[in-house]
Structures are given as C-alpha cells and as structure tokens.
C-alpha cells in the first residue's frame, strides 16, 4: 500500500524546546531522534507519533555548538541523545541521564562524525587481510 507522504519541518535550534513542548502538550509520543551528515554539517531529526501518524522536526547541528536536550520534556530522549553524542560527537546540554560518552563503547571516538574511517581501495583491503 502506498504510505502517506512524510513532511519534515525544518526549524532553528532556538525554537526546538518550544516546538517539542507543543508536541508534548498535544499528546505526541517521541518515536526517535536520528542524525545524518549533510556535507560538513549534521542534521538532527526528531520524530513524533500521534494517532499512528509520524511528524518530523529537523534542526541543523554541528560538533561545536551544543544542542539543548529535550530529556526534560521527553525523558525517553536520553538514549538517543547519548547515542548521537557518542557516535557523532554532537554535544548536548542538560541530558537528564548523561552517560558522558560511556553509553556506546567505540574504539575510536565519534566514528560516524569524524573522517577517521577512510575507505580503502578494494586491492589494499585484500592485502590488509
């Protein structure tokens, strides 16, 4: 079945807390927070669900400015925020349960957010093995 189109609303970081409050007061459930690299910067997407319909909020992010945590509104967000902080190195301020980089144990810090992983050519990969 063709699923409905999804609308992603892009907002600024300063609007985030207010918008999330609005969602919370309307009885939405926090579904997930995801992070994707967009060129040199990152984007965070917050997904909410009410009556089986997903709504999305998107904010730009980078590794220097910290994002206000929404875990005071939705306590559930602390795992997603810790995960993004560990994998992408995007700082969050005021996470309700902050594991301070110990939630996901990685051999290199922030593997998804820094170009530490270089793609080897196929041939070199074989020699390496």
């Amino acid at each position: 079945m063709k699923q409905p189109e999804q609308k992603i609303e892009t907002i600024t970081v300063s609007d985030l807390i207010h918008q999330v409050h609005v969602y919370h007061d309307d009885g939405y459930r926090l579904v997930q927070i995801s992070c994707a690299q967009e060129g040199d910067a990152f984007e965070l997407t917050y997904t909410f669900d009410r009556d089986l319909i997903l709504s999305h909020l998107r904010i730009p992010a980078d590794q220097k400015t910290s994002i206000p945590s929404i875990s005071r509104i939705y306590l559930a967000s602390f795992v997603y925020e810790n995960e993004i902080a560990d994998l992408f190195g995007i700082p969050f301020s005021g996470i309700a349960v902050d594991y301070k980089g110990t939630f996901i144990r990685t051999s290199v810090p922030h593997p998804f957010g820094t170009p530490q992983i270089t793609t080897l050519k196929k041939k070199q990969e074989d020699q390496h093995e």
Partner: protein, 359 residues
C-alpha cells in the same frame, strides 16, 4: 543506610544471549541504579550502506538481527520503495505479511523459551523450542532459509507460494494452536512462572508512555501501540487487533507475547484467505532520491528504518531505530529498586536484541 557497591552485570552472563553491560549500583540486595553500556557487537552495518548497491543492501539489512531478520529486510525495502514511489504487487505485500507473522511467532517462541530458562525452568524452555522448530520448518520450506529468509527484494519478493503450500499451512495451523494453548496455560498458571514474574518489574501506564517504550513492553502496560495498526503493507486488509494487558509487570509482558502467537496465526489464516493472484516482483529501474521513515512492527516492537538517498546507487544514510534501543529507558527505570535476583528476569522481559541495537 548501608554501603553502596557496584556489581558488573554482563557483557558475558549466563542469561544474556547477547552482550550488554550493566553496572548495577547495589544497596544490600537492592538495585539502586543501573547504568547500561553497549558497543560490543557494533558491526557498522549502517555505514556499509555507503559502499553497497541499494538493491544488494537488502541482504545486509536482513542480517542486522538474527531473529527478526525478515522484518528488517521488509522494512528496508518498504522505505526504499516509498522513496522511489514504487507500488509493489499486492500479492508480494501479502506474502511479506505471512512471512513477517511467521518470523514473529518464531521470535516469540524463542523468547518464551529463553525466558523460561532465565527463571530456571529448563523443561519449558525445551518445549518452547520444540514448537519453534515447526515454524522454522515452514520458513525453510517456503523461503529456503530457516532464520535468514533472504526473499525480500526492492520491488517485491523473490519467491512465491502455490495453492498446495497454502493448504499445507492451513492444515498445520490447528496443531500449532493446540501447542500454543498448552504453552500459554503453563505460562499463565504455573506456580514457578507466577512467583518469578508477578509484580516484578512494574512499569506503570504513564511511565511506559513517558519513557517511550514500544512493543510488548508498552502493550503490557495498557497502551495499544502497535505499528501494524497503521496498516502498512497488507495489514490494512487483515483483521488485526493488538494484544493489550494492563498489569504492567513481567507476567503481563510474557502473556502479551504469548497472546501475539495466536494473533499471528489468525493473521496468517486471514492473509491466506484474502491473498490476490498476480505478480510478486516488479522490475526496478533507476536510483532512489529522497528520504523516508518506514515504520513497521517487529516482534520486539516498532522499528524505524530511515533511508536517505541522493540519486546515486549508494544510499547516503540508513538509520535503524530498533525497538531495543527504545526499550532501554524503561529497562533502566524498572531495574532501579528491584532485587538483584530479579535482574535477569527483568532484563529478558524487554527481549533485548543487542545486535539490532548496535547494528
């Protein structure tokens, strides 16, 4: 007040099928706080999407998890199909629904067995897995794989079932239902199960919502949250009713899963009755461009596959929000205040799938 000590639980522990580490802060025998930490089975499958053709990646997305593999593959395909604006054949959607329900049953039976084992009830564990074997036989017969089915393709499924196969499945269903009735009776009435699970790991209705629980965890606390209600794939034509219990303890979560075994059988019967004739696979040309969040229901709860593509044959980003990750906040909440001896039972009731969680 007594002294606090920290007991490390995992990553290697007899009741844990997969590695998760919990630092349990104890006061005497009571857990004050649990601090989870993961990262032992991270395989970088999300990153691999940047190096593989989006059609070949279906096989990798199926291998995100060793239990709920079929639904991962189907959800990924669904996300890519939505991005490309494909309308796949109706028959393929029905077949996906049938296999999804079979893999749900096999996952729940596996979990019920592991749960019985965690309570120290090994006999029940063997019985659950004996029944599970019948499900795996059907999956192997129809798809070629016992656990990793490998029949999902972008644009449909690669294998069809004929009328004789449907008749055979229909004749097997009453036997399975009898097996489930017996298992459910034991999980519901047995004294061993009741003493280990009743009133343990309480999660109130409000807390479950606030902590973003999904799947049997939230349904055991009285909320009817089930992605199958959205009617993705063929589910809009099937008579689906979520199993909900209101107690919010480990026993309720266990019975939600046992109840879902019957729901799955009903859905399979339903789907066999209503499956239309036609193609099962449409040719897919071109590369996807756009993004989509596909939402489906796995045995463990709702899963979100996010796919972002820019018109090349490799996707830009694939992110999987697995049900276990969403169930970590409720787990941490339930562990605070419980007895040390109940920790294995509570950890298992969220059905942790760490392989999924870390991708």
């Amino acid at each position: 007040m007594s002294k606090q000590i920290i007991v490390p639980f995992g990553p290697q522990h007899p009741v844990l099928p997969e590695p998760i580490h919990l630092d349990l802060v104890l006061e005497d025998e009571r857990v004050v706080e649990a601090i989870p930490s993961i990262g032992y089975v991270h395989r970088g499958l999300e990153k691999l999407v940047e190096k593989r053709d989006y059609k070949d990646y279906v096989f990798i997305s199926e291998r995100i998890c060793g239990i709920c593999s079929f639904i991962h593959g189907a959800t990924y395909c669904q996300a890519v199909e939505q991005v490309m604006g494909l309308e796949i054949p109706r028959r393929a959607e029905f077949l996906r629904a049938i296999w999804s329900e079979y893999s749900r049953m096999h996952s729940h039976l596996l979990w019920l067995g592991c749960f019985a084992d965690a309570m120290g009830y090994e006999n029940l564990f063997m019985n659950c897995w004996k029944v599970r074997e019948k499900i795996l036989d059907v999956l192997e017969r129809t798809t070629g794989g016992r656990v990793i089915q490998g029949v999902n393709r972008v644009g449909g499924v690669s294998r069809d079932m004929d009328a004789a196969e449907f008749r055979r499945i229909e004749t097997e269903i009453p036997g399975l239902r009898a097996d489930y009735t017996e298992l459910t009776r034991i999980f519901d009435e047995d004294l061993t199960v009741q003493t280990r699970t009743k009133g343990v790991g309480m999660l109130s209705k409000d807390m479950a919502w606030e902590l973003g629980a999904v799947g049997p965890v939230i349904r055991g606390s009285g909320h009817a949250v089930d992605a199958r209600m959205t009617g993705y794939g063929a589910y809009d034509e099937l008579d689906f009713k979520p199993v909900v219990r209101t107690e919010g303890d480990c026993h309720a979560r266990c019975l939600v899963r046992a109840g879902e075994l019957f729901t799955s059988l009903d859905l399979i019967e339903n789907a066999i009755d209503r499956i239309p004739k036609g193609d099962i696979l449409i040719p897919v040309k071109g590369n996807p461009s756009g993004e989509y969040y596909a939402q489906t229901e796995q045995p463990r709860g709702e899963v979100i596959h996010y796919v972002k593509a820019n018109g090349k044959k490799n996707l830009v980003r694939h992110r999987v929000r697995t049900p276990t990750l969403a169930n970590v906040p409720p787990l941490v909440h339930m562990l605070a205040g419980c007895e040390l001896a109940d920790v294995p039972v509570i950890v298992l009731t969220i059905d942790p799938c760490i392989g999924c969680m870390e991708r």
